[in-house]
């Protein structure tokens, strides 16, 4: 049995059926940022929290009110304690992060570019990356003492692995045709690395910085809780031991602000280095 296409086209489904619009089906799956909603939600949560505290629904001992937290934070500022703790934490955070990042970038580039480093490097990273780095703090204390070096080592060690993984992942993701192009124009190896591989890997490396900076903050606080006189982690632990929950939450707020500052700085770095995107 054969059909003539003109017959098929000429045959209407039903001459009497009314015309209708084509239904639009491409809705959703396209979330958009709304800064007003973000701030509104934030304010609403704090307002509800304050309302709960003021009406006694939330126990002041278990969870101090936002006003009490603000007062405790103000006290930390005017007495200068905040700067003492924050300064110590920032030194450890920046120092540990830089050490881990420099080492991670170096190893990541070696693993990403050279066959001799690839297999041992990947095996090494795969074996050590899953270890919770805080578990190694006692070992670092044995090796480096209870002072600053063990804290730097813990943070650097935690930062090192995600940096290695993102760096060699970034190098792997550089389009091979760009490297071939460089080679076809006889660019020296160092130029291929500096002008093609490094900028090509940069987006992945920078997104790795966001992960490694978060890990660095977590490890910083954990290390300071185990053995430090000053630092936001030490402040939070001391406040908890004394049931000073307002100061404890103030410390947590400082950590949140620290995280936001780091994220903002990385965002600026991203926009500066990846302006071409």
């Amino acid at each position: 049995m054969s059909h003539d296409i003109s017959e098929v086209r000429a045959e209407p489904q039903s001459a009497a059926s009314p015309a209708s619009h084509v239904r639009f089906r491409a809705t959703g799956f396209n979330p958009k940022a709304n800064p007003v909603a973000a701030w509104g939600f934030f304010v609403a949560v704090i307002a509800l929290w304050q309302l709960g505290s003021s009406t006694g629904v939330i126990s002041e001992l278990a969870m101090p009110s936002p006003v009490a937290v603000a007062k405790a934070l103000w006290q930390l500022i005017v007495t200068g304690d905040l700067w003492l703790h924050l300064g110590a934490s920032l030194q450890r955070l920046v120092g540990g992060w830089i050490m881990g990042t420099v080492a991670g970038l170096f190893v990541g580039f070696l693993v990403g570019m050279f066959s001799w480093a690839r297999s041992p490097g990947v095996a090494f990273v795969s074996a050590l990356f899953p270890i919770p780095k805080i578990a190694l703090l006692p070992l670092f204390i044995i090796w480096f003492g209870i002072g600053e070096p063990s804290k730097f080592a813990t943070i650097a060690f935690g930062v090192f692995f995600p940096t290695v993984i993102n760096t060699f992942g970034g190098v792997d993701n550089v389009q091979r045709n760009l490297i071939r192009m460089g080679q076809s124009f006889d660019l020296p190896m160092w130029s291929v690395i500096r002008k093609i591989i490094l900028p090509g890997a940069l987006p992945t490396i920078l997104s790795g910085f966001r992960i490694s900076s978060s890990i660095a903050i977590i490890l910083l606080i954990a290390a300071e809780m185990i053995g430090a006189q000053y630092g936001i982690g030490a402040l939070i632990l001391a406040a908890g031991n004394l049931y000073q929950t307002d100061q404890l939450i103030a410390g947590v707020v400082v950590l949140s602000l620290l995280g936001l500052c780091v994220s903002w700085l990385l965002g600026r770095l991203d926009r500066w280095l990846l302006a071409w995107r």
Binding site: N177, L178, R180, G182, S184, F185, D186, P188, K195
Partner: protein, 257 residues
């Protein structure tokens, strides 16, 4: 520069891609490589350009004469443009001049010269993402011309472009070859491009690629026009040459699928 391709064989693991390829490329001639999909055209070009080591055979540079100021005798033009997205048009061209000891003024002069030649001057500060496919390939050509190559190696430079842009760029390539008398090896699956641009067309058989015939087109490139009866005759002759190979290659692909 005169090149001699001598006994080139190449295999990817167990797959034999090319077998016993022998031909010469004379100074000032454009040689097109045609053949069915997978016959090893691009592989052969990579071997000629020194980007792939052949399993056997050699590429000999018999006459080392190069144009004045030549920085990279064998220069590639890529099918997918291979432009650095983080550099501007001028930056992409400048990249290939930066490691040759040229002063910044010399580099800038060369960049300006090729930007003018390729009508890209107004786009010198644009990034690749801001350009159309045709413009990107013009940047690829400008970059290649900036090093004043002895031999241009072009790997299907028009295949990633739409039909209209392809026609326009094909005219520009023809004008470039006619004007400069540049030596080039041009890989294409498009017979129309081959007959418009090439002095000789090397037709390859399906995998493993071997030379079926070297077809000569003795009409000066400057005199060739789209739709010329002589060119249509050459195109038909080439199609007759590779038709059976193309059908057989297609059937092989069907069997693999």
């Amino acid at each position: 520069m005169r090149l001699q391709i001598k006994g080139i064989c190449h295999s990817y693991d167990q797959v034999e891609a090319l077998r016993d390829i022998d031909f010469g490329i004379e100074p000032g001639e454009v040689v097109a490589l045609i053949g069915p999909s997978g016959c090893g055209k691009s592989t052969l070009l990579s071997i000629i350009g020194g980007l792939l080591a052949p399993t056997r055979g050699e590429i000999l540079i018999c006459d080392k004469a190069t144009p004045d100021g030549c920085l990279n005798p064998l220069t590639y033009v890529f099918q997918d443009f291979a432009l650095l997205p983080w550099r501007t048009v001028a930056g992409n061209i400048s990249l290939v001049l930066e490691d040759h000891g040229l002063s910044k003024a010399d580099r800038d002069a060369r960049v300006a010269e090729v930007l003018e030649q390729t009508n890209l001057w107004d786009f010198r500060d644009a990034y690749p993402k801001q350009l159309s496919g045709g413009m990107k390939q013009r940047v690829g050509i400008a970059r290649a011309l900036a090093v004043r190559p002895a031999v241009l190696l072009m790997d299907e430079p028009l295949s990633a472009l739409d039909a209209q842009t392809r026609i326009l760029l094909l005219d520009e390539f023809a004008a470039l070859f006619a004007r400069t008398g540049m030596t080039a090896v041009y890989v294409t699956h498009n017979l129309n491009e081959a007959v418009r641009l090439a002095n000789r067309v090397v037709a390859l058989r399906r995998r493993p690629g071997t030379i079926k015939e070297i077809h000569t087109i003795d009409i000066p490139i400057a005199e060739r026009r789209e739709g010329m009866p002589e060119l249509i005759a050459h195109e038909s002759a080439l199609w007759n040459l590779i038709r059976d190979e193309a059908i057989a290659a297609d059937k092989e692909l069907e069997n693999v699928a």
